[in-house]
Amino acid sequence: MQLSQTMPRPALIKQLNIFDWLFSALLWGGAIYAFNLYGTHMDSYEKVFLFGAAAVFSALGWFWKPIRMLLLTVAVLSLMGIADYHGDLARAQSSFFLKYILASQTAVMWMSVLFVMATLTYWIGLAARSDFAAQVGSALTWSALTMGIVGLLVRWYESYLISPDVGHIPVSNLYEVFILFSIITALLYLYYEAHYATRQMGAFVLPVISAAVGFLLWYTFDRQAQSIQPLVPALQSYWMKIHVPANFIGYGSFSLAAMVGVAYLFVDKGILASRLPKLDVLDDVMYKSIAVGFGFFTLATILGALWASEAWGGYWSWDPKETWALIVWLNYAAWLHIRLVKGLRGPVLAWWAVVGLFVTVFAFLGVNMFLSGLHSYGTL
């Protein structure tokens, strides 16, 4: 009886190899080192965050292996960037490495260029049926992602160089969250790419990231939005640090689902059908993405309510931003009900996912541009 052979599902922990353990050891080692250095300045939240991050990223790296390489590269590059400052912000202009690669502004520019190149490469891969081009597309996306995260981390450090009281996590204004959006959407996409072993969807998902990059560049060059601003009192809260990223996992997922929805509609009409994944794969990605997005968006809205209850004196005040979050939420709740309860499939759901993107974009940007409220988190 060779039962063991036919039972290829041992617990995750037993599947771990030496690199997984090494990776975790590095993470925990780093956390302990940081704790020894700065522990006396940390409050209990920060301690929980520090070790929580080590635990979460360990698990993430075990669950999805490429994360390990990503985190290591990001750590090395950001630490190099930070060290190269020697505590002096002016070195962003004088040090070669900072000026051309690692200063946050430069890193973000690299991210932008790499994302646009990745978009083009994925399309070349699709047009030429070239697996190699698609592989290059993935590599470019990974590099863009790396530079984006490095940019945000170095920016975080730079904010403290401006002045210790200005320093804060870079998720506090529209410029910063656009970077966050690009990163999260790319990361989600790369996960699905690996999970479904198909690179063709990149040609559809990357354009939405490129659009975000386009906005970011306009915002930088036309509005000089890249300068680091201190936090107004209402934003000085722990809730911000989790509310905003949770929201962007939601937004990123919904955008991804919409773009896969576009691919679905193409295939459904027979356009590029031979080059793109099958309908049931696209449908599955769309569903998963919306499901994950819905979960995180719900979480983010609730975190927002907890924050509002502390900062504004009420967990729900029908502020335009809140109300639009509710509308987005209702939209996807309806989408999920139709699919799960009615079992509806097909182009209708794909169209709906695409329309969902417009609702989401309005909640994200339109509210700031056209409506007014306490929440006008970043006017254009």
Binding site: M7, S227, S237, L306, G313, L374, S376
Partner: protein, 650 residues
Amino acid sequence: MRFAISLFTVLAIASIIGTVLKQNEPYANYIFQFGQFWFTVFQWMGLYDVYRTPWFVTILAFLVVSTGTCVYRNLPGMLREIRSYRENATEQSLRHFHHHGEFASHGNPTAILMQYLDVQGYRYRQQEQGGNLLIAAKRGSANRVSYLFTHSAIILICLGGLLDSNLPLKVEQAFGIKRLETRDIPASQIPAISRLSPDNLSFRGNVDIPEGESADVVFLNIADGYLVQDLPFKIALTKFHISHYSTGQPKSFASDIVILDKTTGKPLLTHTITVNHPLTYDGIAIYQASFGDGGTRLNLDGWNLFDHQGTPFLVTGAVHKSTTLAADNTRYTIEFTDFRPFNIENRGGDDQTQHDTRSVFGGSAVADKKNLHNVGPNFQYKVRRPDGQAREYSNYMLPIKVDGRWYLLSGMRDAPNEAFRYIRFPLDPDRTLTGFMRLRGAMLNPALFPQIAQRFAQSVLHDTNPATQAQLADSTVKILEIFSKGGYKTLSTFIANKIPAAQRDLAAQTYLKILALSAFEAYRMTQVQAGRPAPKADDATGWFIRDSLTAMNDIFFYGAPVYLQLSTYDEVKATGLQLTRTPGEFIVFGGSGLLVLGIFTGFFVRERRLWLLIKPDQVLFAMSSSRKTLDFEKDFALRKQHIMEILKEN
């Protein structure tokens, strides 16, 4: 189900209305925006407070009731489903499954198949079926719990929200038990019908407390009136602090408060409230919501603008207080409305957000760039004429540099929704107003005109005969008189009436030159008379004269007989606190936790059912799941392969 989707849609659309139309503004703003007719229509539809109208609450109620009945109807079935193994499935029905397979077997594979299911995390039951053995297995039944969790969570959240809403108040108003107060009277005089007792279950109200004062009520602003909520304690404000970053954005807002016993006045607790750090006392949460002026005392120099004396008189006042002035046999009331020690933002305009400590507006990456310098203290007041008409003024204390020259700025507007229009009073080389005021005094004093005209005529025509000089002086007196009556406007009317069209341009140029040069003579006269050095005939003086004439001209449109210049002040700040009692909060957050739990179990716990019908020489295998996803297809393929291999090797 279709009903649920329709409810989602209706709720979403109804919600949009309230985001497009600003909610809970003063009614005057709506009347201004829509006109009386549409104002009334919209008011009837409740659009100024959409989320609390009966029709909106009805939609929510429908949602709760339908979700409730849905849960009620589905609960028994769901529980049965969770417990059941469906061991009664017949061979017939298993063959109808989309996902099934049949394998040949020999010997008795029951034990090893059960072992396989154990390892794979399935739980199972066995049943004899006409000589065959059916193993009915399942895993991930928690998935079904998600339905119950999410849907009960929605009900909880809505009910919790209802508990904290002002719905009970609305009902009381509808039945006349409570009535809105619309008069502007002290809290202590408000009748019981507009007051709420301290043991009111839930409320949300605001109160402004100046430094050194206290409050034991909050105000609930509703529609065009308010209700007064009595508090079980008293709050005193010791001090309100604002600090700024070096770039000028606000860094913190903090109120040092003391909670006092309502009857004895004994201090119970001293605390500092900041944004994001409220204080909860006696079940009531106290938040930092806004700030304002608490009655800053102002010492002002009043310049009578239509009198030729070049000296100011003393005026004292305090913000939120008023004083009267008499001029030209008219009594004017001056109502001081606001004072700001810093003005980082754009000049003028009193944006609501500026006083709202809860705004996240400064978080914008670009919003703050243009207005990054502090232009110093500023105060606002209204000048009300006896007929009740008022104009609003906004004056800066410190000189402001415009185009390289220094001015004192005073803004004026007729209505609160207009922008301020600024008059610029030029400053003399000592950076004071006196130079301008003396010059203006001379230019308003007809007794001095001959002398000014004389000097001017002499200066331009010093070697011609006295008769020509006298002629020029005469016309100069005329021009000065006309200008002193109404500025450039009277001058241009005069030109239009008296001079043929062909020569008007030339005449206007000449008149302006005469005016400017004689103003220069007047300035020299007044300066020397006051013991100041005589002004040089240079560029700076030239600009000073031109600016002075412009300012004198603008004074005719200024609308107040007096310009108030701030000399010293004694600032008193006020904090705006929001006080709430929200017993439903725990229910809402409990429900929220349940919702998240439900959603994540629903999506991440995969429900699987598996049947193995073991016949003497054959095994029938079938699988099902509540979610038909690709993962399920893969899972099915994998199980099928495993079972096949197990049976082969057995």
